[in-house]
Symmetry: C2
Subunit: 410 residues, 2 copies
Amino acid sequence: MTPVEVNDGRLSDRMAALARVGRDPRGGVSRLAYGDADREARALVSAWMREAGLAVSVDAAGNIVGRREGADPAVPPLLCGSHVDSVPNGGDFDGPLGTLAAIEAAHTLLERGAAMRHPIEVVVWSNEEGGLCGSRAVSGQLPAFELNNVAAGGMTIADGIRAIGGDPGRIEQARRAPGSIAGYLELHIEQGRILEDAGVDIGVVLGIVAIHQWEVTISGETNHSGTTPMAQRHDALLAAAGFVELVHRVVTGEPGAQVGTVGRLEASPGAPNAIAGRVVCSLELRDLDAAVIGRLFRRIEAGARGIGDATATAFAFAPVMATVPAPSDPRLRRAIAEAARALGCTTRDLPSGAGHDAQCLAPLGPIGMIFVPSVGGVSHSPAEWSTPEAVRNGANVLLNALLAADRLLP
Amino acid sequence: MTPVEVNDGRLSDRMAALARVGRDPRGGVSRLAYGDADREARALVSAWMREAGLAVSVDAAGNIVGRREGADPAVPPLLCGSHVDSVPNGGDFDGPLGTLAAIEAAHTLLERGAAMRHPIEVVVWSNEEGGLCGSRAVSGQLPAFELNNVAAGGMTIADGIRAIGGDPGRIEQARRAPGSIAGYLELHIEQGRILEDAGVDIGVVLGIVAIHQWEVTISGETNHSGTTPMAQRHDALLAAAGFVELVHRVVTGEPGAQVGTVGRLEASPGAPNAIAGRVVCSLELRDLDAAVIGRLFRRIEAGARGIGDATATAFAFAPVMATVPAPSDPRLRRAIAEAARALGCTTRDLPSGAGHDAQCLAPLGPIGMIFVPSVGGVSHSPAEWSTPEAVRNGANVLLNALLAADRLLP
């Protein structure tokens, strides 16, 4: 089929207009969830949603839902969207691209008078950066106690949800049942530089990886650096060094896109003239396949035992978090790849190593995600940037993938 | 010659009495330099010095000097001593053993009517734990600006020196010229467990090691742990891990008593889901021979360049401190070893990896140090302990080495 195209001038104007909301004098944008700038951005995109012919409401979790009915009243809606809240001093693309491209797709469909079989719902998920709050509420993954947590902007999540028009006391009403959506599509910047390095236009996301984190405690013996011969030491930092290298060796020791990171490491007592008696560090493993994570972890654990024996120290692992992988739907992946091809864009399959609202929709129905290149792989920074071509490509692929999904999904 | 012996009942009674001064309810003793407990301890040992027939005075740096004239008015004095100040929650032996054994040796000589050729001076060095203040002042190594530094007890060093009867405005008067002492002997606990592990009674100290420290900065690139493939990382913590292992490998790669330590390590930003972009860590090398330290450092520097290349990071080394080694005098080492043998004690030569007042005396004349075993190598802790036999052995070796030094030193 001949691909349709969005009005990319309108899209880029709106990207620019949204980027002015919450502009931070220290750089980038600061639209912390629930705050003034977030609310201003939500009002702005709500207006654009109405221009796109969508009936706008806010659910109990504070998600903005813009809906247009489809031709078949018996089928569930097709969802697409992203978010408009940001990290402090964040960039102009993480969230806004997927949000405005979804509105633009709806607007284009309206203007073309295109008949869709499914109802379409453009969703702006609330408080994505604070831990996917809005999308987790929709899939029943937001435990009630979290409503009392204080969000980055300073108010509790409950107060924040109230401030954006939701109803935290009835948050269960935002929940959707498995099977109640025909599918979900999200366009996002890659936030890495796999696509840029490969010179590829469009990433077809295989899924959102599982993330497992542990806190690792290495116990040795603090002692005087001058009076303790090398052979008599129980140096927890030497053991930790072996551990960091072990993690790298195990994770890179087999083919695949898995990643493993030790990002936090604290050595005690932390003096130049004292042998470290204790190290606490993080271990994080990510992969699309939880079985891969399990296998890597068992190798790391076994290797750590060997390091402990060799350095006269002891390792202890405490699990901190474990998310489940959210694979994308093969039909939607095909739809995305075919839309890209029809538009003359090159594609590459890749996992999403970062979390996205889409992962919370996976238990409710088929999901698909489209990535466009991030220049230099930079994100969560004022330097976050994707080219105008990438923005146009992404929006056009989203529009055509939506049309394909409308045809192929039940 | 038949060895003479101290009154070890009196010595152990005094060790016990001194250990009650500054007893800390949280454990051990806290006799921070210049504070009430330090002053009480100084008054107590001054009284014992007078009982031992010594003429007691306090020099401008707050060192207590107890002197007995010798038979030959033309020769400089033989010094021996240690300190009575402690770290917070310190032990009963670090300082008190050498101080009270020196007083006991003088007392024994008085009681035996032993004629010494040299004047003898028992010295209680002020503020040893705060950085060898008293002994550095005596050798002209205490820069004037340090007088304004705040000592552990809360007062400035200048105020502290005043509080213990010194005169910081005239601190130069405490200075002694090279050649103005016949020699210096100090008994101390080992603070390590080389002697204990070897089952040896007496350590003949080869000298006090040189200490060189660097601050090492490793620059990589902070990035998202989920979206940055392993091959695209510039992981400063992975580089640091290689560095810590490199230091251990280089330092243990040749025979000798040299030690090398990375004790402090800070990784930034320090989050489980962020690749560390920057690590700052310490490097410390200690050896009796500064040339060994230089050679090890050059190997470490070269190895770090290789790690930087392999991990796409950069290493920078900034020197922090470099002390000179203070070798002991071979005649005094022999005198110590022979005294030990005559007393039926086994000996072993070893360097002192920790700093001691003796190192400040080395520029002024020949020094000798005697170590006795520390149980478990523990020091600077309430658990610091040396057996009554070790205390007696150490004091007897000190006494007989003093007698030998009186004969053999000019």
